[in-house]
């Protein structure tokens, strides 16, 4: 198995649960996410145990800042590093939950999240999912197989 074989039945409930319980906003699948947006802020997490590839969570810079401001409720200023850390945490939560569901008899393992920015052109061995929060915010999740 590889990451791109983690199907919608696993990833969609995991993503919606993490977003809803963290941001208190309903989320639903929406394939219109723009992966070519040059302002994207993203975080990638390697799926180590089982070794399947990587998960990437992405959203636009403006939407990432809006999510941060809502989540922190004004307690902290939305600087670049803090916003990247928030995306790392969401990516980590989604990746961990997805891995944990694959095999209940194997303790799952992840790498540390790694934040980045810029468009994400299609990659070989990749499966993409888009999501929209009830306030209109869009996020994308990409599952990338080991190459």
């Amino acid at each position: 198995m590889n990451a791109a074989e983690i199907d919608a039945q696993i990833i969609e409930p995991v993503v919606t649960e993490v977003l809803e319980s963290t941001l208190f906003l309903a989320a639903e699948p929406d394939p219109s996410f723009d992966w070519e947006d040059g302002s994207l802020r993203w975080s990638t997490v390697d799926l180590h145990r089982p070794a399947l590839g990587a998960l990437v969570l992405a959203t636009s810079a403006a939407e990432a800042e809006a999510i941060f401001t809502m989540l922190w409720a004004g307690e902290r200023v939305a600087d670049e590093g803090a916003v990247a850390g928030m995306i790392d945490e969401l990516a980590n939560a989604i990746a961990g939950q997805a891995l944990a569901q694959l095999d209940p008899h194997q303790s799952p393992g992840l790498g540390l999240p790694d934040a980045g920015r810029g468009a994400l052109p299609p990659a070989a061995g990749e499966r993409r999912y888009g999501f929209r929060l009830e306030d209109g915010t869009r996020l994308g999740v990409s599952l990338r197989a080991l190459v």
Partner: protein, 126 residues
């Protein structure tokens, strides 16, 4: 209310745990924070910490290693440790409990799940 040390490399995750603790009745001056296991061990020696809430996946020293150090320490072995991680399934929970975790909770953390874990812990101690 005991003093609580929150151990997570993510400032966002620490804030979310802190918020849950506030909802559970903890005051801000009862919560302390560390970015990884090694920093947590330093704080545990310096502060009067009664409960540790730790992530697993962290740089420098991860949550499993922190748990091992605590359970092997004559000073720290009795402090309850609640693991809060996205990396929780049946196998991981069994392994963590065998290592001495007091409770294991899946991220994202909810105030209800944290309150239930603390309440079970208090009940077991009573």
């Amino acid at each position: 209310m005991p003093n609580v040390l929150i151990v997570d490399d993510s400032a966002t995750a620490r804030m979310l745990v802190r918020r849950c603790l506030t909802i559970c009745g903890y005051r801000a001056d009862q919560t302390f924070e560390a970015e990884h296991g090694r920093a947590a061990l330093d704080q545990l020696k310096a502060e009067g910490i009664d409960l540790v809430i730790s992530d697993l996946n962290m740089p420098v020293m991860d949550g499993r290693t922190l748990l091992r150090f605590m359970r092997g320490s004559p000073r720290l072995h009795a402090i309850p440790v609640i693991i809060v991680s996205s990396l929780v399934n049946e196998a991981a929970e069994e392994e963590l409990r065998a290592m001495g975790a007091t409770a294991v909770i899946r991220k994202p953390l909810s105030p209800a799940a944290l309150a239930a874990a603390i309440s079970r812990m208090d009940g077991a101690a009573a």
